[in-house]
């Protein structure tokens, strides 16, 4: 009794050869269809923020608690610029804080509305980064990537709920939404605290919003976007994978943004 006939051996070899030949095409095909931008640029652009009329943004011209939109570091990654303050309109200093890229929801009030800071914790293996805090004369100006880290909702689903503003904002638990001073996403209810590096106050998101690092030139009062810290921007393989912004970036008000789209 022969355990393997010549005929079967030939057939097995042919099957292996055919499978190998087809399999050999997989890697080249994947390399071919992969967009080259995925390798990413080396450095973040240093971009001067300008208004839509072309004038450079001056911190003295930024009203408190008003959202401005811009695209950074890529031409399709929306971010917000905001001069944070309390409900009376007085700018609030935003302090530097260390955050994990993956974190447990804090479930307390926003710092703007008198929350007692609770320890920020994440899983033990989560990498950490330093949120540099606000810039400008009052250290009150911050910028965040404004794409929800849960499932990618953007303005107007993800919006800023000012401190003390009467609202029908429903969160679970309800008291966190009541006093405001939060970024709230209407898609699935994630709440972030803009005064603490956009740390997660309420799930379902498990990641804070990435922070756009700003630089303030105190002599000219101009603002520059110079980098991104925090988790990777939602929907991107890397923060620089795509067409990057050049050395100037325009900020738009909500009305201008609506007209543009």
């Amino acid at each position: 009794m022969v355990w393997l006939t010549r005929r079967d051996l030939i057939r097995y070899m042919a099957a292996a050869g055919i499978a190998g030949a087809i399999g050999s095409l997989i890697v080249p095909t994947i390399r071919y269809i992969t967009p080259p931008a995925l390798s990413g640029s080396a450095n973040y652009p240093r971009s001067l923020l300008v208004f839509s009329n072309g004038d450079p943004v001056k911190t003295s011209e930024l009203p408190v608690n008003k959202l401005y939109f811009f695209y950074y570091p890529l031409i399709d990654t929306q971010a917000v610029l905001i001069n944070l303050g309390d409900e009376s309109g007085k700018p609030l200093e935003v302090k530097s804080v260390e955050l994990p890229t993956v974190m447990f929801p804090l479930k307390d009030f926003s710092l703007a509305t008198g929350g007692t800071p609770r320890p920020i914790e994440g899983p033990p293996n989560a990498s950490k980064y330093v949120f540099p805090g606000g810039v400008g004369p009052y250290r009150s100006i911050v910028a965040y990537s404004f794409i929800c880290q849960h499932l990618g909702c953007i303005y107007p689903q993800l919006r800023f709920h000012k401190p003390g503003e009467p609202t029908s904002l429903r969160t679970n638990p309800p008291e966190i939404g009541e006093k405001g001073g939060v970024f709230h996403c209407r898609c699935h209810g994630t709440v972030y605290d803009p005064y603490r590096g956009a740390a997660v106050l309420l799930d379902p998101s498990i990641r804070p919003l990435p922070n756009i690092v700003l630089e303030w030139d105190s002599s000219t009062d101009h603002l520059y976007a110079v980098g991104v810290v925090g988790p990777t921007i939602f929907g991107k393989i890397c923060n620089l994978c795509g067409d990057t912004i050049k050395d100037k970036v325009t900020v738009y008000t909500a009305e201008e943004l609506a007209k543009m789209l």
């Binding site: 005929r7 042919a14 390399r31 071919y32």
Partner: protein
């Protein structure tokens, strides 16, 4: 239960559930597995390669910036150069093999009842293939592409008149430059989709009656050309036909990639066969104004100045008055494209007799041979003298010798058949003598009669020599064609005996296939397998942008090994004795030779 029996039981499950053993395709006798019966598989494999690479190229093609976008695919995208250049070469191969496939079936009269529709759809598929090819090379945006758009405009307005022509052009090319390439891209893909549809219809019509039976079984009669599906010596479609298709596909792709690999090595390759685009449009260049080779024949016919209509021609037939507008291209189009095409489409109805033997239908054999000669001559002529106007005397010098040779040759051969036993040597001698006489008469006589001695000796000597050589070449091709026609005689006498002893012997050989698997086959199979496994890392680690020719070579070796292994697997299901080891080894020798060519392309 071991791994082997597990694999076997899974395999048997798939075979049983997919009912692979009873796939309802036409079955053919075990003796039909040869190149002559499988020319269509070459066309189909080339088309498959075109479809795969074309769909992948769509990912990167940029209609808003065609030339730079194409150069980006070549210079920046990994494997982009390989895909783009092999797409072009596969198109060349598909067109060439489609012509061969068509003329084989023309001379063997496969178009006869009941396969008329199969033939007509096949010819139309060929037309759509050329249309897709035209739209494809326009997409590149190089100088050939922009010339093609302009010439295309001239041909369309020249053939359809200004009003309808310009309307058609607006449909095809849009009304603004930005629109042009987007539309051409869309029509290229639409045309390719139509080609795929026609191809499926062509296959379905093939399945209706299967291939024509071999002459020795059908005695060259169309009415006996259907293979009885109850014969005992028919191979199962799966796995025999399937494996043979894989073999044809692997070898076709292997040849394609091996030739591409060589072509990519040579920088100064002739523009007609260059795998890469020419210079961009609008830049001054020495690049000759060529179309791709498969349109050269029409390019030359369009140079026939005596065919251009200088003044409108008015035809009055009683109350009907027709005006043919002045056009340099209308008559060349009718003579060079429309009439041959019309003939090829209608030949099943012009030639309705039961006879399939080429010498028993001499008129059509002669016409077919003349079309072949015309295509070859005009193509070479177009390549040698792009854009030079041709006058009547030169055209006759080129066209008459092959016409005389072929017509008289076929006439004599068909007259002599059946009366005398004609040997091939007799035919060749007779035709050679005839050819020399006709050639001398036609080339010198006509040239000298229409031109003065002075012009022949002083001005036109090089041209006249060229014309005479082309005439001789055409005569040679015609001679070669008719002398390779099958003899009338032995093959028409045999009668098929599907239940006879030969069939029983065939069936026995197939059933005892195991004993027929020689040891060399195992060794060669292991060699192929090693080549596949060794080429995979080569394919992955060689830089695909700077060393495309090496990547093409590695892929060629993989595909050729696939072909070789498939042929072996096919032989385990079909063991009609070839007679000797050499004939058994022939496909593998061919594969190994092409592999050696590919290895040249591997050099750094």
């Amino acid at each position: 239960m071991g791994l082997g029996s597990l694999i076997e039981s899974i395999w048997n499950w798939v075979v049983e559930r997919a009912n692979l053993r009873e796939i309802p395709f036409r079955r053919v006798p075990y003796t039909y597995f040869d190149l002559d019966h499988w020319l269509g598989a070459i066309v189909a494999s080339a088309f498959a390669w075109l479809a795969i690479t074309g769909l992948l190229l769509l990912i990167w093609y940029d209609a808003s910036n065609p030339y730079n976008g194409t150069m980006r695919i070549i210079n920046e995208i990994p494997y982009g150069k390989l895909l783009l250049s092999s797409h072009l070469y596969a198109a060349h191969l598909m067109i060439l093999s489609a012509y061969i496939h068509m003329f084989r079936n023309f001379f063997k009269a496969a178009y006869k009842k009941p396969r008329e529709l199969l033939w007509i759809v096949g010819v139309l598929t060929g037309v759509v293939t050329l249309n897709t090819a035209f739209l494809g090379y326009v997409l590149i945006g190089d100088i050939t592409s922009s010339d093609a758009i302009n010439v295309g405009k001239g041909v369309v307005t020249g053939v359809f008149g200004a009003e309808l022509g310009n309307y058609l052009l607006a449909l095809l090319f849009g009304t603004s430059p930005q629109e042009t390439y987007r539309r051409v891209l869309a029509f290229h893909v639409i045309s390719a989709a139509l080609l795929a549809l026609l191809f499926v219809v062509h296959l379905a019509l093939f399945e209706a009656y299967g291939p024509p039976a071999d002459p020795k079984e059908s005695r060259w009669k169309a009415s006996l050309s259907i293979i009885n599906q109850l014969r005992r010596d028919l191979a199962p479609w799966f796995p025999t036909n399937f494996l043979y298709i894989l073999y044809m596909t692997g070898v076709t792709w292997g040849i394609l990639l091996a030739l591409l690999s060589l072509a990519l090595l040579y920088r100064d390759i002739h523009p007609l066969i260059s795998p890469l685009p020419g210079p961009p449009a609008g830049v001054e260049t020495e690049h000759p104004p060529y179309p791709p080779w498969f349109f050269l024949f029409f390019y030359k016919i369009a140079d026939f100045v005596f065919l251009s209509i200088q003044n409108p021609i008015v035809i009055s037939l009683g109350p009907i008055i027709m005006t043919i507008p002045e056009s340099p291209i209308l008559v060349p189009f009718i003579v060079g494209i429309a009439l041959p095409l019309l003939y090829l489409i209608t030949v099943p109805f012009l030639d309705r007799r039961d006879e399939r033997h080429p010498l028993k239908r001499p008129v059509h054999t002669a016409i077919g041979a003349l079309i072949v000669v015309y295509l070859i001559q005009a193509t070479i002529w177009g390549a040698l003298t792009p854009g030079e106007p041709i006058h009547l005397d030169k055209a006759l010098t080129v066209m008459l010798p092959p016409m005389a040779t072929t017509v008289l040759g076929v006439y004599i051969l068909s007259r002599s058949h059946g009366r005398v036993a004609v040997s091939r040597a007799t035919i060749s001698r007779g035709v050679a003598a005839l050819y020399i006489g006709v050639f001398l008469l036609a080339s010198s006589g006509i040239t000298l009669a229409l031109r003065s001695w002075e012009s022949f000796l002083l001005i036109g000597s090089r041209d006249s020599l060229l014309s005479a050589s082309l005439g001789a070449l055409g005569g040679g091709v015609g001679l070669l064609l008719i002398s390779s026609l099958p003899r009338v005689g032995a093959s028409s006498a045999g009668s098929p005996d599907p239940s006879g002893r030969a069939v029983e012997e065939t069936v026995r050989r197939v059933e005892e296939a195991e004993k027929e698997t020689p040891v060399w086959m195992l060794i060669l199979g292991a060699f192929y397998l090693v080549l596949v496994i060794a080429s995979i890392p080569a394919l992955i680690y060689i830089d695909p942008i700077s060393r495309t020719s090496a990547v093409s070579a590695a892929l060629s070796i993989i595909m050729l090994s696939l072909g070789g292994l498939s042929h072996m697997a096919y032989r385990t299901t079909n063991v009609i004795p070839y007679g000797d080891t050499y004939r058994e080894l022939k496909p593998h020798i061919a594969i190994l030779i092409i592999m050696i060519i590919a290895i040249v392309g591997l050099k750094p």
